[in-house]
Amino acid sequence: MGAALALVLLLLIPIGRWERRRHAHQELSGMREIRGLVGQVGDPSLDAYRVRVGFGFDCLLYRRHRNRFALELCFDGQGRLIEAIDRRGSGDPRIFSLREDPSRSTARVDRRLVDRLLRRLGAPGYAR
């Protein structure tokens, strides 16, 4: 019984790790897709921001037509893309997020660029 339990637990480890990787991969794919929709991070459609939300990350929001918050990219302090939201359609937004596990994000930008853009938008704490 104990051996069977130990075996099951041992088998669970690779499964859990695989799930973690797969989930990170899926979220990253989605975030990259939205990042692709945005184009350049400093795209002229950049229209709004959020600062220090969640566990302290900052977000940049991009306008599409009349929707000011159509696309959103959130970065942590190291410039890792940890959340991306697509609000272009009707209904609930498409959200891809690794905010619980930011270390799995391999999509990143130069954090200084994010800081510059927040400063440009007049975000509190970033304004000149």
Binding site: A3, L9, I15, F69, E100, D101, L121
Partner: protein, 979 residues
């Protein structure tokens, strides 16, 4: 264990007090009053550890064996195991570890208290009263806060909610949970006590109920209602009293709900409008309230709290479920609920999903929820069992404890707390479960009472009177009518033999290199599927699991063989026990099994055969129990083993066929008329079905492979070689197996099992199979042989001579074969000595372990040296799975081209379209290249650093202009399911 009397006395006195103190300390830790919170934070873990110490002392002082506690304890361990295992995939491993460790302490406390209470019913009563005292102190402290700092004790009315009493708590739900689960204990005391104590209990009841109602915590109200109903129903009162109690509880609940609805929400001013348009999106569209809010820029809808809705839980639960679905099996890691759950919901305000079960799903996935569900169920069943057999007073106490747990489970539907040790209600709920379970423990005398010693006093005498015959030790008759020895020593004997095998194999693990088939299995494990051409999927699945943990570790993968061998040794020891063998027979059988040259090779290669070995031995063990005891309820288990075996290696069909034939031919064929075999067969087929589906979808390639392999093996192994391999692979254990076969044959019930090894050995002899194929079937006769030897009535001198002869014979066989099955030599020594050479009677796999890195390097070198023209090769095409898999393993650079092979399963591991017109081909003979290529040019040859003549050495590496696009050549020329 003997505990000093004074220490035990102190623990007994202090335990309940410490429990009450712990409850209060945890409540203070969740207080809005800063000073209390500070004190609570500092004291709660200290008090829990002190309680743990006292509980352990009390448990160690208990002499009674409590078998009823074993199953829940095992399930609790299973759940904790999942929690700790989740460290490996947690998003916050340190957090997961600390949370799992604190839950372990909590479980240890309640388990120890359960064990102690099983022997001392009065302790259970005192513990329940202590719990109630703790809750009463917390409730009274809440009133005190209300009187002194009114604002801290009441949550002001808002447009969503009326004013709510929160007492000491951080919010109205915090303490209400504790009061809800403590309420049945108050009811029990009000019933049980007399005079002033009854009055005090009734006042406490009113205080708790009033606090719950004033908090308007709907979850707590419903949980207390259900807990009280559970107490009323299970209290053992007469039907009339029970009905009155139920009516009273329902009336109390209705009144409570009615009163809780009295405070009205504050009049809403202007509805929540978006802030002025700024660039700060958080002011217009908050990230934590986006879903359900409506369009940004429009007015936010008002939130109205109703009796059954308005908290936004349902939408948050759906969100939590969606998050769980992203990592369904293992979750995000135990204790990470707050970190993982993201509140994006307009109607919901919490950092957890407010449902313990969904929270558990997030943390530990289906695996954890299943383990938790099994634990909760076993606790409920245990409590119910206890309730049925108790006298009225004891039954009411047990009913109160069980109701605490029931109320806690209901509360968990609306609160995330069940596995958070820091929550005020958690310890109370688990303690209730433990005390209810303790009441289910049947009085069983201490172990020494069964060893023939006189029982210790009248109490034990009375306990023994309750013991069901035969149930105390689990002893029953072995097939021969002998008494079956206990199971634990047999497990230890098997483990010891396995440890011995691991110890002698460990220094040589990983030598000499990847074997051809190993490489292939590694490639398969990178591509988990329901089937492969030449083997069923279990080997690849296990490989996938190992690689997930240890990466492409040869040692890690080869350890699976040792693990299978160790498990098979345990089963062999259990077989000896099943046949009535004592410890000498069990240990002798297990050791004789692991020192056979066959088993000694188990750490030398990662191979389907080891999983097959385990499946065969497991099948024989279960079959022994089905036929020997007889235990027909195990037919489904036999089906499970057969099904898994079929997913492991198709050769188990020979064992299944032999078993069927032996049953039909023997007097035991009557067993086949029962439903058991049909159910077993159906289960086996069901488990095997996915592989069959894969085969059907791919045109049954394994059948073509099996046909070609039979011809290949027949050419490679002559019948005399096959017989020689039986002798050499088993050594002296073969003599033991022969004796065991005769011993089994003499016992009519076991006669079919005596025939099975003989049938499979003859089957493979006539089919010209490999010598190793039937060997796992010898495990059972070997175990029987050990039992026969143990009972051999010959003189001591004769027995010693026989044993010495067997050992000498085995030593001789090992001297012949050891370097061939266990890589004891260094690579240079192995090459120089010619150990790598296989002969008919002495197969070896070392030859195919040499040269793979060199092959990959040579291919890489050639590839990189080729001009990057349009006509340059676009893929690497290998002639067999060894080459393709070696390239797959060793060539990991980003510039690696597509590696393909048409050999066996590799034929399916390719893109849908192959339009390439040129390839770098590896390993094909010139004659084939002239058929495949319109022109080809030799670019290199395969060599190994030892210049050892194996199958690969000297083969060609060539660039090839294909006669047609690769996909047109694939089926007619390249893909094959034949050896």
């Amino acid at each position: 264990m003997k505990v000093p009397e004074g220490l035990a006395r102190w623990a007994n006195r202090l335990g309940p007090g410490l429990l009450a103190f712990t409850v209060v300390a945890f409540a203070f830790g969740s207080s809005t009053v800063d000073l209390l919170q500070l004190v609570g934070w500092k004291l709660r873990w200290v008090s829990l550890l002190a309680l743990a110490g006292a509980s352990v002392v009390l448990a160690l002082d208990s002499r009674r064996r409590a078998r009823e506690l074993r199953a829940p304890a095992a399930l609790a361990l299973a759940f904790l195991g999942v929690a700790f295992a989740s460290v490996a995939w947690s998003v916050a491993p340190r957090l997961t570890f600390t949370r799992a460790a604190s839950l372990t302490i909590l479980f240890a406390v309640v388990a120890a208290l359960a064990r102690a209470s099983a022997e001392r019913p009065e302790l259970a009563s005192r513990l329940l009263r202590a719990l109630l005292s703790g809750a009463a102190i917390v409730a009274a402290a809440g009133l005190l806060v209300l009187a002194i700092v009114h604002g801290d004790a009441v949550q002001a009315a808002s447009p969503q909610y009326g004013a709510r009493y929160q007492g000491l708590g951080l919010n109205p739900n915090t303490m209400a949970g504790l009061f809800a689960v403590a309420l049945p204990v108050a009811a029990w005391q009000a019933w049980e006590q007399r005079g002033l104590r009854r009055l005090a209990a009734a006042l406490v009841f009113l205080l708790l109920e009033g606090s719950i109602v004033a908090s308007a915590s709907r979850g707590a109200i419903f949980a207390s209602l259900v807990a009280l109903l559970a107490f009323a129903v299970s209290s053992g009162a007469s039907a009339r009293v029970r009905s009155a109690l139920v009516v009273g509880v329902v009336a109390l609940g209705v009144a409570g709900i009615g009163i809780s609805q009295i405070p009205k929400a504050a009049p809403s001013g202007a509805s929540e409008r978006p802030g002025p348009v700024t660039r700060d999106a958080q002011s217009t569209l908050p990230l934590d309230g986006e879903i359900g809010r409506g369009d940004p820029g429009s007015d936010a809808p008002p939130i109205r709290r109703r009796l059954l809705g308005g908290s936004g839980r349902s939408i948050a639960w759906r969100g939590a479920l969606r998050q769980t679905a992203d990592r369904p099996l293992g979750g995000y890691g135990f204790g990470t609920e707050e970190k993982v759950f993201v509140d994006r919901f307009y109607y919901f305000y919490s950092n957890v999903p407010e449902n313990s079960y969904l929270g558990l799903g997030l943390q530990v996935g289906i695996a954890g929820v299943a383990a938790f569900g099994a634990l909760a169920l076993s606790l409920l069943l245990g409590a119910a069992r206890g309730l049925r057999r108790l006298r009225p007073e004891a039954r009411r106490r047990s009913a109160a404890a069980a109701s605490v747990f029931v109320g806690g489970l209901v509360l968990a539907l609306t609160q995330s707390y069940l596995t958070s040790v820091g929550n005020v209600a958690t310890i109370s709920v688990w303690l209730g479960a433990a005390l209810a379970l303790a009441a289910s423990v049947r009085p069983v005398a201490p172990a020494d009472a069964f060893s023939g010693d006189a029982p210790a006093g009248g109490m034990v005498q009375a306990q023994r009177a309750e013991i069901e015959p035969g149930s105390a030790t689990g002893a029953a008759a072995a097939p021969g009518g002998e008494r079956r020895p206990p199971v634990r020593p047999a497990l230890l004997c098997g483990l010891a033999a396995g440890a011995f095998l691991v110890a002698i194999s460990a220094p040589f693990l990983g030598r000499y290199g990847w074997e051809r088939d190993e490489l292939y299995f590694v490639s398969a494990s990178r591509r988990p599927a329901l089937g492969y051409v030449d083997f069923p999927p279990v080997t690849a699945w296990v490989g996938w699991a190992v690689r997930e943990v240890a990466g492409d570790s040869r040692i890690g993968l080869r350890l699976t063989g040792l693990a299978c061998a160790t498990l098979s040794a345990i089963l062999v020891a259990l077989m000896a026990r099943e046949l009535g063998g004592g410890r000498r027979a069990q240990l002798g059988a297990a050791v004789a099994w692991v020192v056979t040259p066959f088993l000694l090779a188990s750490g030398s290669i990662y191979y389907t055969g080891w999983f097959d070995l385990l499946a065969w031995v497991a099948f024989l063990y279960v079959a022994l129990r089905v036929l020997g005891r007889p235990e027909p309820r195990l037919w489904p288990l036999l089906g499970v083993v057969a099904g898994v075996g079929l997913l492991t290696k198709y050769t188990i069909l020979a064992l299944l066929g032999a078993f069927l034939v032996a049953l039909v031919a023997s007097g035991e064929r009557r067993l086949l008329r029962s439903r058991g075999p049909l159910i077993g067969a159906a289960i086996a087929l069901l488990l095997f079905a996915p592989n069959l589906v894969w085969q059907a979808r791919h045109g049954w390639p394994s059948l073509r492979f099996a046909k070609s392999q039979a011809a290949f093996t027949a050419g490679a192994t002559s019948r005399p070689d096959y017989v020689a391999q039986q002798l050499l692979f088993l050594g002296a254990a073969l003599a033991l197996a022969v004796v065991g076969t005769v011993w089994l044959w003499r016992r009519p019930r076991l006669r079919p099992l005596a025939a099975v090894p003989v049938i499979v050995t003859l089957l493979f002899l006539f089919e010209r199979g490999q010598g190793a194929y039937p060997l796992p079937a010898d495990a059972l006769p070997l175990a029987a042989g050990a039992v026969a030897l143990e009972r051999w009535s010959a003189s001591r001198r004769v027995r010693r001579s026989a044993a010495a002869g067997l050992v000498a014979l085995h030593a001789f066989v090992l001297a012949l074969l050891l370097p061939h099955v266990l890589p004891v030599r260094t690579t240079a020594s192995m090459v120089r000595s010619g150990t790598w050479r296989a002969t008919g009677w002495r197969p070896t796999f070392y030859q195919e372990e040499i040269g793979w890195p060199e092959l990959a390097r040579a291919t890489m070198r050639v590839w990189r040296s080729l001009p990057r023209a349009e006509s340059a090769p676009q893929v690497v095409l290998a002639s067999n799975y060894g080459e393709a898999s070696a390239l797959d393993l060793y060539w990991r650079s980003p510039d690696r081209p597509l590696v393909l092979s048409g050999y066996l399963s590799w034929q399916y591991w390719r893109p849908a379209h192959l339009r390439q017109r040129s390839a770098l081909v590896v390993g094909y003979p010139p004659a084939f290249l002239t058929r495949l290529c319109s022109s080809w040019r030799r670019r290199g040859r395969i060599e190994n650093r030892w210049r050892l003549p194996n199958l690969e050495r000297g083969r060609l590496i060539a660039s090839c202009r294909l006669r047609a696009p690769l996909e047109e050549l694939w089926k007619p020329l390249i893909a094959t399911s034949r050896l």
